[in-house]
């Protein structure tokens, strides 16, 4: 082998790469927030008394979980404009990530809600709270706590999935590094660096979730 490592293009591109990391963070955090909203809303509808609402959620979850993320993002970016909805790459990526992550979050959260004993709900109802109040003030937090490790790994996965948004040139780490690579042909150096960056980003996400968990779920259980 007579390949000589040359990190000069990577070092020159470092400001761009770091800014792109921030872009990845923005996509991931926004996607997670949307996924959380979809997840919680979906669980509420999934356990609704009204059957068509339940079917709607089941159908949504099945469609999203059984189709590739790349196709979903292409659908929003290329197909929806034909129906009059034209979005920029970054909002497209956030919506796609939110919808995709939300479908998985619904299933995870459903497990959490089912783990809450019937007695908790009955105690809330007996105190005169409405069903929605029982869900919001009594069920939700312990349910989230019960599934928080699964939710964390799902959301770390969502963070890594942001790289697929490079296919529509959203502003994030993979697409910026592709540009540096195609200008310099220094594939090894560029992707080595990017791999290290993704590892750091994932690690930071996990720390963030652990921090959140320690603050929000700090109550003792038997």
């Amino acid at each position: 082998m007579n390949y000589t490592l040359d990190f000069t293009p990577v070092i020159d591109g470092m400001p761009n790469l770091l800014a792109a990391c921030l872009g990845t963070f923005v996509l991931a955090i926004s996607g997670m927030m949307l996924a959380t909203i979809i997840g919680i809303g979906g669980v509420v509808l999934r356990t609704s008394k009204i059957a068509p609402l339940r079917w709607l959620v089941i159908g949504f979850v099945e469609i999203i979980r059984n189709t590739p993320f790349l196709v979903q993002i292409f659908f929003i970016y290329f197909a929806l404009p034909l129906a009059g909805l034209r979005l920029d790459p970054t909002p497209t990526a956030i919506i796609a990530l939110g919808i995709n992550g939300g479908a998985y979050a619904i299933e995870i959260l459903r497990g959490g809600v089912q783990s809450i004993s019937r007695g908790q709900v009955e105690a809330g109802l007996a105190l005169g709270l409405h069903k929605a109040q029982v869900f919001r003030f009594i069920v939700l937090k312990p349910a989230l706590r019960a599934v928080f490790p699964s939710l964390t790994s799902q959301f770390v996965l969502l963070t890594l999935t942001t790289s697929i948004a490079s296919a529509i040139s959203a502003y994030e780490l993979t697409s910026v590094s592709q540009r540096i690579e195609s200008d310099s042909f220094r594939s090894f150096e560029v992707y080595f660096t990017v791999t290290a960056f993704y590892l750091v980003i994932s690690w930071l996400m996990m720390r963030l979730f652990a921090f959140f968990s320690a603050r929000y779920f700090a109550y003792p259980v038997k």
């Binding site: 004993s117 007695g119 908790q120 009955e122 105690a123 809330g124 109802l125 007996a126 105190l127 005169g128 709270l129 409405h130 109040q133 003030f137 009594i138 937090k141 312990p142 706590r145 779920f217 109550y219 003792p220 259980v221 038997k222």
Partner: protein
Amino acid sequence: MSDISTTRPQAEAMISMAGVAKWYGAFQALHNINITVGKGEKIVLCGPSGSGKSTLIRCINHLETYQKGEIFVGGTRLGHEAKSIDAVRREVGMVFQQFNLFPHLTVLENCMLAPMRALKLSKAEAEGRARQLLERVKIAEQAEKYPAQLSGGQQQRVAIARALCMRPQVMLFDEPTSALDPEMVKEVLDTMIDLAREGMTMICVTHEMGFARQVADRVIFMASGAIVEEAPPAEFFSDPKHERTRKFLGEILSRH
């Protein structure tokens, strides 16, 4: 008459159940239940397991539906629609066998949640009320702790305080001491006796016959989903009329 009941039962009915029947599919869980409970009256409901006692009191705040008959609580007819269910639940407190405290809320927050959300009290009002009632069940110093940090007896006393924070007119107790270690039964029963002394209308499903003797105005014995016998405690224990009652009392009293 019970030896400590200071408020005489009044003619005014706090709860009345007329012809209540309930089925689980083909299985009939309650048969033609007729009960009237006066204001301030204390009822102990006993019977073998599966006799329908819990199902009966759970009908009173509509945790269970029923298919036949009528229930009135404090003059409000308990229908199957949300409005009357809400109205009744605000007047009826319930204490469960498994305590059912909310694990993610402190003792104080457990007591404040429903007054703030269901009665729309301000935070300060709800807290004042909660601290006062925690004082009354002698657990005020644990207000900032979480349920998992308390003993079973303490948890059950918090559950009683939590229910009282809604200022209910009636308290339902569903085997409140059955899940407790023996040494904690007394503290919970003492709390219930205090409550009875203050004139609360109470229906207690319990096997604590000492409590029944001391507190109850009437003991109701159920078997197979029907009321078999109903009498003041002195008469109920000394002179049970039905064979099933005698058998039940024989079994339960020989255990103690």
